[in-house]
Symmetry: C2
Subunit: 407 residues, 2 copies
């Protein structure tokens, strides 16, 4: 027996994943499992399949029986190994869940996800208190959108950002080879962080993306067409990175007129369709004299593509989950774990427990210091912020291109 | 001086890139340049910017002056380092080009590209003969579509295929986490090779893509909806890989009704739009009771994304170009270089010169042995064909998933 005093809450643990998958969400899952294995007060380690839906349906797997080899293989694999769900629990759901959790002697509950999942954890936590059910309820941060409050950045973001940057490095060269206007639509409902990461692709002065449009600034069709025309005049080509969440001055998403699908958290479905890209390409064709205009929507690849995860992101995703488990065991507490950046030149982070309500529901946005005045690009402050977490990117080769003198 | 006899045609060399970029097209460019540097009969090594357009505009760079370091950096970089073009030369263009090439003392001409670029090389070669202009004119194969006749496979395909396979590995897990129907639209105007490569993503029996639709088989909307419904019933989800070039029984591309853009080779523009994916998603929503339906169009990323190129592909792209230069210098010949696969169990290739007309214009398709009877999947023969050139793919981890007994 260890000399460290046990705080007394002995029981089983339930962990689940919720919301959109990321490339490193399994690092958090495995980080929590490996940390839990070391805790005397945690007996069984159960995983609920597809978030809280698995609790309601009593669909659990015994993560304590998985070998370290399997755990590590899953950690290195993108997307949610336990399956995911987008579901906001009702008070009736909570009552049913406590009945189930009680039967499985669950005292520790961890929910890996974004702001909606934090809201779910917050609801469960409040309902548990009201029902006098002793549950240490924690949210573990995850979202490629990078829009969780309290956090400097969130696990999953840097890997998605790495995909977006790499994609733009290649796409910029494609556009340079066959000039025209290329519009790339990137995920991000309300926050432009992931779209902004396209700027990391730039290595030469004429490299795209030449324009970046974020949900944080109203999108004006006339200005957009003018911006594109101006870049095209200068470089003979133009690469545009645009967030799926761009909205007009009234806050209506430009893409919203094309879909009526809404999830149980009230979010309009923006991904999984090429409509916004095609709309923007049509605007350029109609409002300029440019003929070669193409649009790509990066879609789900940016959150699930294997082999491109940021090592810093993977490491932090694992560490923050281990910290959540250690915190839950150490005292009679609940909350979410926030990632904070230490001031100073060298990149360093630390973790801090914050109240669930501080990260639930509402999201944060790109700070003004990250966006240029014209609202069509990012600033150096954003590059300085994102570069250390995205990690070094491969150098793109280019000829010195000595012109052959006229014969 | 070397003892090897020089065949007498001393002069400068012009090389250019044409058509859609690939991840390894610069390997061919640098392979040719490095091989040319070793030839006594080749004096200057010039690169024409944007294919034959650079010849007409006299825009050349001196590749002989680039350092090996720069050459190697460009070789490892996706997309066409010299720029590209889609242009079919007229007899007037040819006459103008010969006037320019003569002034720059060009005796060796290499054109890296697909079937349209081979047609361009063929036209230039025939016009050169008619004009009695001594020119050793070669086409060097390149196309992610893998549809060049005479070739077992073409440089660029395996790297594009690797992207498509990796993308489906991640996307299959995304779809497993948040079940529904996911449709992925993949490049390929007439040949389904690249779409077929999605099958390489499968590692577990229930892995997607569950359905694969190719341009080689007529696409029937009713059958498509039935296929999806059947898979969804079995797995509770369905991942579909579909070629942008799928066409109805009359040969009309399903996507063609959505675009009127046609290039100078007469090709309808299919890429750079999400319309086909959205159309197919709409069909599933309307003809089944499945609600969560998403579509992604992989777009230009599959030909330009850095860090995922197949090493076998990169090596062959370089070697085939070097072979073209060596062949051009060795005798009074012209042609294209074809990649052939040696019979036998171990993967091995060899190169062979073929007449330009054999690869120009017309394309080849997936052989019937690569497509299943129902026309909605590939066969093991295709996997055996593609696996050695795409290279080993990372293993996706999965829990053993011991179910927790009911409490």
């Amino acid at each position: 027996m260890t000399k460290k005093k046990m705080d007394g809450l002995v029981g089983n643990m339930m962990i689940a994943q919720s919301g959109g998958p990321t490339m490193v969400i399994n690092e958090s899952l495995i980080g929590a499992v490996l940390a839990a294995k070391k805790q005397k007060t945690i007996r069984k380690i159960y995983g609920s399949l597809h978030g809280i839906q698995g609790i309601l349906k009593e669909q659990f797997i015994d993560l304590g029986r998985e070998t370290v080899k399997t755990l590590e293989a899953v950690a290195a694999t993108p997307s949610s190994g336990l399956g995911s769900v987008r579901k906001k629990p009702t008070p009736e759901d909570c009552a049913k869940m406590f009945e189930v959790l009680q039967r499985y002697q669950i005292r520790y509950f961890f929910y890996i996800g974004g702001n909606d999942s934090a809201e779910t954890a917050h609801i469960i936590n409040e309902e548990a208190k009201a029902a006098h059910y002793a549950l240490r309820c924690f949210h573990i941060p995850k979202t490629i959108d990078n829009d969780l409050r309290e956090n400097d950045h969130t696990p999953g973001f840097a890997s998605g950002a790495r995909f977006v940057a790499l994609a733009h490095m290649g796409d910029n060269l494609d556009n340079r080879a066959l000039p025209g206007v290329k519009i790339n639509v990137i995920m991000g409902r309300h926050a432009g962080f992931l779209t902004a990461a396209a700027a990391l692709a730039r290595q030469y002065p004429d490299d795209g993306p030449h324009l970046i449009y974020l949900p944080e600034r109203p999108f004006k069709i006339q200005d957009f067409a003018k911006d594109v025309q101006k870049v095209y005049k200068k470089y003979g080509r133009c690469v545009v990175a645009v967030s799926e969440g761009i909205a007009d001055a009234d806050g209506t998403p430009i893409a919203a007129t094309y879909t009526a699908e809404v999830d149980s958290h009230g979010n309009v479905q923006l991904s999984g369709t090429g409509a916004l890209g095609d709309l923007l390409a049509g605007i350029v064709r109609n409002k300029t004299d440019i003929t070669r205009v193409r649009a790509d929507t990066f879609g789900y690849l940016q959150r699930s593509f294997p082999t491109v995860a940021s090592p810093v992101d993977a490491e932090e995703a694992r560490a923050v989950a281990a910290f959540a488990v250690q915190t839950a065991v150490a005292g009679d507490v609940d909350g979410s774990i926030a990632i904070r950046r230490k001031p100073g030149k060298a990149y360093k982070v630390y973790f801090e427990r914050v109240p669930l309500r501080n990260v639930a529901k509402e999201t944060r946005h790109m700070p003004a210091s990250f966006i240029n005045k014209a609202g069509n690009d990012v600033t150096k402050a954003f590059i300085d912020y994102a570069a250390p977490i995205v990690g070094p990117l491969p150098a793109m080769g280019r000829f010195k291109a000595h012109r052959v003198p006229k014969a």
